[in-house]
Every structure is written in C-alpha cells, then in structure tokens.
C-alpha cells in the first residue's frame, strides 16, 4: 500500500509538469477555440530565451518576467501575422498545417541557435525536499506556481470584463462584434497570454527534465490528454486532468500495462475522451444545432 501511495505521489509530481502546459493549451482554446500543436515548442523556445538571459547575467526573477513579456509579445505577433489570415477559414487544414510549420521552425531554430546538448536550468526554490524526500523542493514550488497561475487564469476569465470579452469573442465572433468587441485583438490577446503561460510552464519544467529542443515534444501529448480529460475549456479541469494524467500514467505503467506503454495510455485517453465525452470531466457540453 505504501508503495502505491509513493507511486501516486510521484505521479502527482509528473502531473504538475503536464498541468502547467495544459493551462496554456486551455488558455488558447478558450480564447480562440483552437488546439495549438505548437504550444510546446513555443514554451520550449521561451525557456531558451530565459536561459540565455540568465547566461548573460540577469538574475532569475528578472529573466523570468522579461521572458514572460517577450513571450506575450511574440504570441500576439504570431497570431496577427501568421494565424490571422486563416482564422476565418472553415478548413482546419490550413490552421493545423500552419501550426505544424510553426512547430518545425521553432524546433529547428532552437536547435540551430543553442545546439542540442542538454542544459541545466536553475530553480528558484529551496533545495530541501519534503515528505521524506519524495517531493523535491522544486516540485513543491511547481505545484504552488501551477495553483497560483490557475487562480489567476480562472479569476481573469470569470471576474474581469476583458476575460468575458475574450470568451465571447471565441464563442460567437459575430455577435461579439455587434456588441463592440474587437474580436481580432481578443484573439491576439489570447495567443499572447497563452504564450506567456507556456513560458511559465517551460521555465518551471526545465529544471526537472533538462533543457533541450525536444524537451516539450512528448510532454505536450500528455498535456493534451490531461487537458481533454479534465475539460479543454476549463482551467480547473485542465489542471486536475494534468495531475490525473500523471498519476494514471504511473499507476498504469507500474501495475497494469508496463512502463513501455505509457504513451499508449495517453493515446487511449485522448481517443476515449473525445469519443465518449468530448467535454471531459469538468467541461461544458456543447450542442450544435443543425
């Protein structure tokens, strides 16, 4: 029983990684109703920027917030320049293709600029470990950051007029325009915020998994699975889903299917959720009228 609990705890720690990226995924989805395949690469690229700033001598928190700002601007720019022309298209083909293009460009740009060797990333949290060492200081810090970010995102969408405007723009662009909402800028803002959230995720995750261009590749799949599981339009759901994904993956890996098939577990969850209950555990079910 003890061993089981330890695996759960270890799963929660990994789940923290997924939850942080899942928040960025949910942010983009809520703001634009689009699933961004390049989210992980954007987060990875932001993390490299932070790393570079720290290498150049900037203190950690300075680099952290500056990177967030740069990522925000970058996200807005990407939306305005690259994504905008395809937003009105019905065909998802264009949008997804552009995402894949973005993915490839960011990945190779990072590799070309910073090489592929592993880099350590500093952690701002104290090094002591908790719970008999099963939860490291950084992992605890990661939990705290995820929860704080979650609270901010939730409050933003629920209580601020801007958040309401963004939700409206994504839900019903035409009506929103009639009410005076600048839909185009709402979408751009959504991208900027998601890019910033991605940067937070990357910076928090890098000390655990080491910084390299392929750092976020597979984490993204697990993050998607978590976000879908929890409800892709619900920040709370995404975080719970992310943690659940970590625990599930661990438990399934150790006790059920073997550690080889963890990705298959994610695959099954993604397809299962989408087919059986696309809204996930906590999302809202959408009914389309013909």
């Amino acid at each position: 029983m003890d061993a089981f609990l330890l695996q759960v705890l270890s799963g929660l720690a990994t789940g923290g990684i997924y939850a942080s990226l899942a928040l960025a995924v949910v942010m983009i989805y809520k703001a634009t109703h689009v699933v961004n395949f390049a989210q992980g690469e954007m987060a990875m690229f932001s993390t490299y920027l932070a790393w570079q700033l720290i290498q150049w001598g900037m203190p950690y928190w300075g680099a952290f917030f500056l990177t967030l700002a740069i990522s925000f601007v970058g996200g807005v720019a990407i939306e305005r320049i690259v994504i905008r022309p395809f937003e009105s298209h019905e065909a998802e083909l264009s949008v997804v293709t552009v995402f894949i293009g973005l993915f490839l460009i960011l990945n190779s740009l990072a590799g070309w600029t910073w090489e592929y060797t592993l880099k350590s990333f500093p952690s701002p949290f104290p090094a002591e470990a908790y719970l008999g060492g099963y939860l490291s200081g950084h992992q605890a810090g990661l939990f705290a950051v995820v929860l704080v970010t979650l609270a901010i995102v939730y409050a933003f969408f629920r209580f601020t007029p801007l958040g309401l405007a963004m939700r409206a723009a994504a839900e019903n662009p035409d009506s929103s325009r009639l009410v005076g909402i600048r839909v185009g800028w709402m979408l751009a803002l959504g991208w900027g915020l998601a890019a910033a959230l991605g940067a937070v995720a990357g910076i928090m995750v890098a000390p655990l998994v080491f910084l390299e261009p392929n750092m976020m590749g597979f984490v993204l799949i697990y993050a998607f699975a978590g976000a879908l599981l929890g409800g892709i339009d619900n920040p709370w759901g995404a975080v719970i889903g992310g943690f659940a994904m970590g625990v599930l993956e661990n438990i399934m890996g150790v006790y059920v299917v073997g550690t080889e098939l963890k990705l298959t577990v994610a695959l099954v969850i993604i397809i299962g959720v989408l087919v059986v209950k696309p809204a996930g555990m906590f999302g809202r079910t959408v009914v389309t009228r013909v």
Partner: protein, 328 residues
C-alpha cells in the same frame, strides 16, 4: 484538345519513368523508387484529407503497420515479397476502418489530435515486448531485397524500381477511378456539405470509415514497398516525424489532387539533400517555412498551381487565336 495533351503528357512521363534506371546510377534508382513509395502513401493522404476532409496526422502509423506486416511475413514466414503487398493492404484497410469508426465522432482539430497521438504512440507500441517475438522488438527485422525474376537482366535496385512503378500505376489508376465516379463525388460532398450529404441519403458514417480504411490501405502498401526497398524495419524508422513529412509532401504537392502526390513525394525526398548543404537544422526549418508560405500563397500546392497555370495559358491561347470553325 485538353484530353490529348494530358494523355500525351502521361505517356511521355511513363516512357521517361521506364527509361530512367538505365540512365542513372543505382543510388538514384533507389531514390526514385522511394519517391514512388512516398507518392503512393501521399495519395492515400490526399484521398482522406484533401478529398474527404478528414484531417490525419497519423498517416505514418499506418505506413508503419504496412511495413511491419511485410517484414514479419518475409522474415518469419518466408512469404515472397510480392505477396506481402496484398497482405499489408488488407491489414491496413481493416486497421484504418477500425480507427475510422471512433474517428467519426471527431471533427477537425480533435481528429488531428487523435491521429497525432496515434503517430506518437506507434514506436512504443511496436517496441512492446508482448509482440517482441514477432516484431524483433527494438532490434527490428532485416529483410532481403528480391532479385529480378525469370532471369531478367536487371539488378535488385532496377527490378524493385519497376515493380514499384507497376504497383504505383495500379494504385493511381484505382484512385482516379474511385474519385471520378459517384463514390468520389460522395466523398467530396461529405467534405464540403456533410449535413446536406446526409440529407441526400449518403451514408456518411460508412463512407468516412471506408475512406479512412482506403487511405490506410494506401499507406500500408507504400509501407510494405518501403520496407523491401530499405531492407530493414525498426520502431525508430517510424517516429512521428514521418507523419509530419507526409503532411508536408501532401500540402506542397497539392492535397486536393492526385498528381500532387507525385510532386510532394519528390519534394520531401530531394529537398533535404539540397538544403543539407546550408545547415544541419535547415531541412526541418525549410519544411516548416514552406508549409506556412504555401498555405499563404499556394494552398492548392504545386499540382493546383500547374492546373491553374495551364488553364490560364489555354485561355490566353484561345483568346489570341481565331475561334475554330469560323475559318473562312
């Protein structure tokens, strides 16, 4: 007039294709064989995503299944290479259809996500020790290239080239036949106006699943041919990047056309060789840049562009020359 040109063009291409191996090195023949293999795979992708509107990022997974089917049959059961093709086709048709069933409920980006996960998970499935005996696990399976039959004076590369050419022609004619008839129109109708199509009595669920199966079948046949050409299969041969490469080829070649598959295949095979000279990271970045640029400028791909260009050229010619039948 139009029909004559196209037939002449195809005939010329066919003659050139047949003559090719005798004028270039074995290495180039091998490369062109791979181009045809990819073209078959891309044709499957075009049918599913271009013509039927179901977005798949998992095409590489079915290519892998086809490769492994051929490899397992050849390595463990001594099945002759040509017999593995129908086997791979059947396995993938079934696999694609089965995957297409739950996929019916998924639209657009979510279907893309589901298929992407399939592609990402495929190498680990192939490595699973439960089927390790059959698949060779991480070590993979080594195959032997066939010699030319009936004592024909062709070496292995040349024979495989002609074999692949024959299979490719069959697959392309099959697709052309499929798409220009009622079935083709139904498939396209489902893409453009799914609700109206259903209202008109088309069984969209059946069509979509079967199209998924057919697309997977094309990938499977291509995979089998690819396995024979490379003489090796391993889980690492089928990473998620392969599905990306297929998407790139389809989009750049022209995802709404049949001929696009050939242009796309040539692009994804040869461009990395050219861009390697610039920098190591260049091939991937160039693929990404091309994807985005093409979406902006030429979403119909090279094939679409050529079609538009030839239509424009024809209109110019008609305008400048006197209308026939009015000769005086």
């Amino acid at each position: 007039m139009k029909l004559d040109w196209r037939i002449a063009g195809l005939a010329a291409a066919f003659i050139a294709a047949c003559a090719l191996p005798f004028f270039v090195s074995d290495y180039r023949t091998f490369q062109f064989t791979l181009v045809m293999v990819y073209a078959i795979a891309l044709l499957g992708l075009n049918i599913l995503t271009g013509f039927n509107g179901q977005f798949t990022l998992g095409h590489g997974a079915f290519y892998a299944i086809g490769s492994y089917t051929a490899a397992i049959l050849m390595a463990h059961y001594d099945v002759p290479y040509w017999a593995t093709l129908p086997a791979a086709a059947a396995v993938c048709l079934l696999a694609g259809f089965l995957f297409g069933l739950p996929a019916l409920r998924l639209e657009g980006l979510f279907l893309a996500l589901a298929t992407l996960s399939l592609a990402v998970a495929m190498p680990s499935i192939l490595k699973w020790k439960g089927i390790g005996e059959l698949t060779g696990g991480v070590q993979g399976l080594v195959l032997t290239k066939p010699d030319a039959p009936f004592g024909l004076p062709l070496n292995q590369d040349e024979w495989l080239y002609f074999f692949t050419l024959a299979v490719a022609i069959v697959m392309f004619v099959l697709a052309w036949n499929l798409l220009r008839g009622r079935v083709g129109r139904a498939i396209v109708a489902i893409r453009d106006q799914p609700i109206a199509a259903r209202a008109m009595g088309i069984n969209t669920a059946l069509y979509k699943s079967v199209t998924f199966g057919v697309s997977a079948m094309y990938a499977g046949v291509a995979g089998a041919l690819g396995a024979i050409a490379v003489q090796f299969v391993a889980p690492d041969s089928f990473q998620v990047g392969l599905s990306f490469v297929f998407l790139i080829g389809a989009v750049i070649g022209g995802i709404y056309s049949i001929s696009g598959a050939v242009f796309g295949a040539a692009f994804v095979l040869f461009v990395p060789h050219i861009s390697e000279g610039i920098s190591r990271a260049a091939p991937q970045a160039i693929f990404g840049a091309f994807l985005i640029v093409f979406m902006f400028v030429m979403p119909v791909g090279i094939a679409g562009f050529l079609r538009l260009a030839s239509a424009w050229a024809r209109r110019r010619i008609q305008r400048s020359s006197p209308v026939r039948g009015e000769a005086s």
